[in-house]
């Protein structure tokens, strides 16, 4: 049974695209067939983070408008063969996305993949609502910071009203993915703690991704962090989150890159 998952947040820059790539790759690494779709028409990024920017020929808009077949637009990942990407268009704007066209594309993808992961643009307007329209599951990406939390709360409300599931009187399964978390700074009161965010948003937690240089490095390499460095702290956090998405019970931890004094002193030079 195919699951359609939307990665959304309301606020921009909290890690939707990074998380889409990492979760998509993690699910694919576990043997599931996965397609990630970039809904950020006009500001596409997912192709860069996935390292596929030089292989884009056709995109989501071409398929929505019937100018290309789905098979022509899908880009298969070179590292994990069960992972595919449907890129967004950089030259068109979001008005080119039609409801009917998106319906058709998602229906077709449902018959081909185990997971259809939609990378939502920021905001609460047309782009994000089209990205979440077909979702069975939503991963709400939130930073431990008040404005991000409030925007996430807002997007949860939109998920409860503007998705097909909501229109049928059902509810989208919503999960919180807390990104850029630093336990030390949270303890010092410089950022919100996990329990504060959970109390405000009151949706179940799917993972805590620690703040790490590894994430930025992976983005710039064009490789999802779960592929570039699977033993790093953020990669382990994403891999655990993906297992929870598949229904496994995994104890919630905040992975960290603990290094000994020796590594702290010399690790930088060695790297």
């Amino acid at each position: 049974m195919t699951k359609v998952l939307v990665v959304t947040s309301g606020k921009g820059g909290v890690g939707k695209t990074t998380s889409t790539a990492a979760l998509g790759a993690a699910l694919a690494q576990s043997g599931q067939s996965v397609v990630v779709i970039d809904f950020d028409v006009g500001l596409r990024n997912l192709d860069l983070v996935m390292g596929a920017e030089r292989r884009v020929v056709y995109d989501l808009i071409n398929v929505v408008q019937g100018e290309a077949k789905l098979a022509q637009a899908l880009i298969r990942d070179k590292r994990v063969e069960t992972l595919s990407l449907l890129p967004a268009s950089q030259t068109r704007d979001k008005d080119a996305l039609t409801e009917e066209g998106v319906d058709r594309v998602i229906d077709e993808l449902r018959s081909k993949f185990d997971w259809v992961i939609c990378d939502s643009p920021a905001g609460i307007e047309r782009g994000p609502t089209l990205a979440m329209r077909h979702a069975d599951i939503a991963v709400v990406v939130t930073n431990p910071e008040v404005s991000s939390v409030r925007d996430s709360d807002r997007i949860i409300g939109v998920l409860d009203s503007k998705t097909l599931k909501a229109e049928r009187g059902e509810r989208v399964d919503k999960h919180l993915l807390l990104t850029r978390y630093d336990p030390v700074r949270a303890e010092r009161g410089e950022m919100l703690k996990v329990e504060d965010v959970l109390e405000i948003l009151s949706i179940p937690l799917i993972g805590i991704i620690p703040e790490s240089d590894e994430v930025l490095r992976a983005s710039n390499l064009g490789t999802p962090v779960t592929i570039s460095n699977p033993t790093s702290a953020p990669a382990r956090a994403y891999l655990d989150a993906a297992r929870r998405l598949r229904g496994e019970t995994v104890e919630m931890t905040i992975p960290s890159d603990k290094r000994g004094l020796f590594n702290k002193l010399f690790g930088r030079r060695a790297a």
Partner: protein, 276 residues
Amino acid sequence: MTDTAISSPSAASGSPAPKSQRPTIRFRGRSFLALMLSPEAPLDIWLEELSSLIDRSPGFFGARAVILDVSNLDLDREGLADLLARLNERRIQVMGIEGAKESWLGPGFPPLVRGGKQVNEVDIPAPREEAPAAAKPRAESAPPAPAPEPANTAHNAAPIAIAEETIRPSLLVDRPVRSGQSIVYPQGDVTIIGSIASGAEVIAGGSIHVYGALRGRALAGCAGHASARIFCGKLEAELVAIDGLYKTAEVLDSQFHGQAVQLWLEGDAIKIAPLN
């Protein structure tokens, strides 16, 4: 008091229509409490009395919807035009006329209305001591009053008493109210099982009960119900209002922050006490 939305089927999908489609026009019904003026003969004396009322309470008609009932008067078209002009001089804007003949009305006249529902009489400021109170703003801080009823804005001193119904309906919301959501229920009480998030608002004709945290706005007694209260499991509100009188987080007593409290109105003051 009803608030209904009617829209064409194309809007039912919830997403904005693509450019190529024709735009959807939404119609909303909304009811407001109107003040009924029923002049009596002789008109000169009645108007004189009206002028002295306005002198005592200059803001009394300010933001109110006024319906003119002329059924007690023996008027003709000219007489009605004259009466409207004399009300206009006293800055009373008539939005509808009851009891007039249709043939009297034409362009420039307010429309004919009928079929209003009776509510209790409006308290009129007494000749003497209430005059200063009427001029005093009810709100304790500067921003515009958030009450949805124009008949009950911050600078409006005269409370409108509404008949107590024996059975007041209530609305139960069994999920959190998320940021950006607005729950408007002028008919009665609202009970929220969950929290009201920052940036969300609940507007009720009666009391508001929040079993979780109140982080957004709660406006109780919006239709002029001064005995409405607000109850919450945790007070972190951005704004609370009862019967048009409001307080923002800034002026709420910080000793109650984060506590389970109730808020009610005592005269012109919002009172807070812990729920224990």
